[in-house]
């Protein structure tokens, strides 16, 4: 497959897997408003995923469809980062994961608007409007929980401490990313790493949370090596297509 195809998946798989995680909360959110908000965000991400996959399917040819890409790959073929596949352990984790991803996602789309690839520019311009709302929602909740009660503060801190190890991978460049970045199609994500940590740090401090100091980071998702959570997630995601191939709603 081409570098462009792989590059599109590197971006799109994050949106798909996070959409799936958020979708799990449908009907299970801690309150009606947050339930609706998280599933609305899920829907935005799923819509973005579709735009990317439709483009990737066109590049792949051979009558491949967006659904094939979404449902019929094995775990090692998904290129999402480890952060987005982490489970909804409790609300603090869902919000922490969202916040750490949204800040990155916004910066990525902001840069992608200047890609030389017209389709990617169009998707980025459309998506960034939605993501600015996501970021506002998750930042607001990090502040509310961090600067809330002692219990909410502890839980938010616990989630940030746990999820922190997955943030460095966001700036790891795969071969496809390097190649596409050289061509002006892709984004050199390492370029805004410093800006990312600065923005995240400022908000965590505002939320009276402690910025984790550990230097242990883990990665692998972008190369297809996932955490143990991914298999269960895919089992849910792919169940219908695997059990009843080509089924339609």
């Amino acid at each position: 497959m081409t570098n462009l195809y792989n590059y599109i998946l590197t971006i799109a798989d994050n949106a798909l897997i996070l959409a799936q995680r958020l979708g799990e909360l449908c009907g299970h959110g801690p309150s009606l408003e947050t339930d609706i908000a998280l599933t609305n965000i899920s829907l935005d991400l799923l819509g973005q995923t579709r735009s990317y996959y439709q483009y990737a399917a066109k590049i792949a040819g051979n009558n491949k469809t967006e659904d094939d890409i979404a449902f019929l790959r094995i775990e090692r073929e998904y290129n999402n980062c480890l952060l987005v596949e982490q489970p909804n352990t409790h609300f603090g984790y869902s919000i922490g994961r969202q916040f750490l991803f949204d800040v990155y996602h916004y910066m990525l789309l902001d840069a992608l608007q200047h890609s030389t690839d017209e389709t990617l520019v169009a998707i980025a311009k459309k998506s960034i409007k939605e993501v600015s709302y996501h970021k506002r929602f998750s930042s607001d909740w990090v502040k509310r929980l961090g600067d809330g009660t002692q219990e909410s503060n502890e839980k938010m801190q616990e989630a940030i401490d746990y999820l922190w190890r997955y943030t460095d991978e966001l700036f790891y460049m795969t071969e496809a990313e390097k190649a596409m970045s050289e061509e002006g199609v892709g984004i050199d994500v390492s370029a805004f790493k410093e800006k990312y940590y600065q923005e995240v740090t400022e908000l965590l401090q505002e939320a009276t949370l402690t910025v984790p100091e550990n230097n242990y980071f883990t990665k692998g998702g972008k190369e297809g090596v996932h955490t143990e959570h991914m298999g269960y997630l895919l089992a849910d995601l792919q169940y219908m297509q695997r059990t009843y191939p080509n089924m339609n709603w």
Binding site: L43, D44, Y133
Partner: protein
């Protein structure tokens, strides 16, 4: 329908005038008082050799109403014996500025508050200011309940004066 803002918006787009009548029969499934023309999602509609080519700009990426809208457009034109070819266009991205003034008025009459400017939108969605006008009683003493409402495009508010909850159509630019 009074001419003016909507007519002006249509004029600036490539929408052939003989198609307008049928297009105005197709409404947003979530906000049925708004036609596709009011919403500004139709960016082009031309007839070539009996086939109607429509360019549709989705409001939000994942908006389920877009699939319904496509089906409804096909149905509306098939009733007058026309075939429709719909292309989704992402660029330039849809903006709430594309909703016609008539559309905004219909929206308010339907009970949904109209989008504020980008700056004010941010302020009300952070709960910093009270500016959204209650579509029931007209008071601006209203408060944010949730940044996300019944659909992706709306936020949920409540009026502190008449105590009614209502939807606010978020600014998208």
């Amino acid at each position: 329908m009074n001419i003016g803002n909507l007519a002006l918006k249509i004029e600036s787009l490539n929408i052939e005038s003989h198609l307008i009548e049928t297009l105005s029969t197709v409404s947003d499934p979530e906000i049925p008082v708004l036609t596709v023309l009011d919403l500004g999602v139709i960016r082009e509609a031309v007839e070539r050799e009996g086939v109607i080519y429509i360019k549709l700009s989705p409001t939000y990426s994942g908006c389920p109403a877009m699939d319904v809208l496509s089906d409804d457009l096909k149905k509306a034109f098939s009733e007058i014996g026309k075939e429709v070819d719909i292309e989704l266009v992402l660029s330039p991205a849809w903006s709430t500025d594309w909703i016609s003034e008539e559309g905004l008025q219909k929206m308010e009459a339907y009970g949904i508050a109209r989008p504020l400017s980008e700056l004010h939108d941010k302020e009300v969605l952070l709960g910093a200011k009270r500016m959204v006008k209650c579509p029931q009683c007209g008071s601006t003493n209203t408060q944010l309940v949730s940044q996300f409402g019944s659909t992706a495009c709306k936020a949920l508010f409540k009026c502190e004066d008449c105590k009614e909850p209502f939807d606010y159509f978020k600014c998208l630019k």
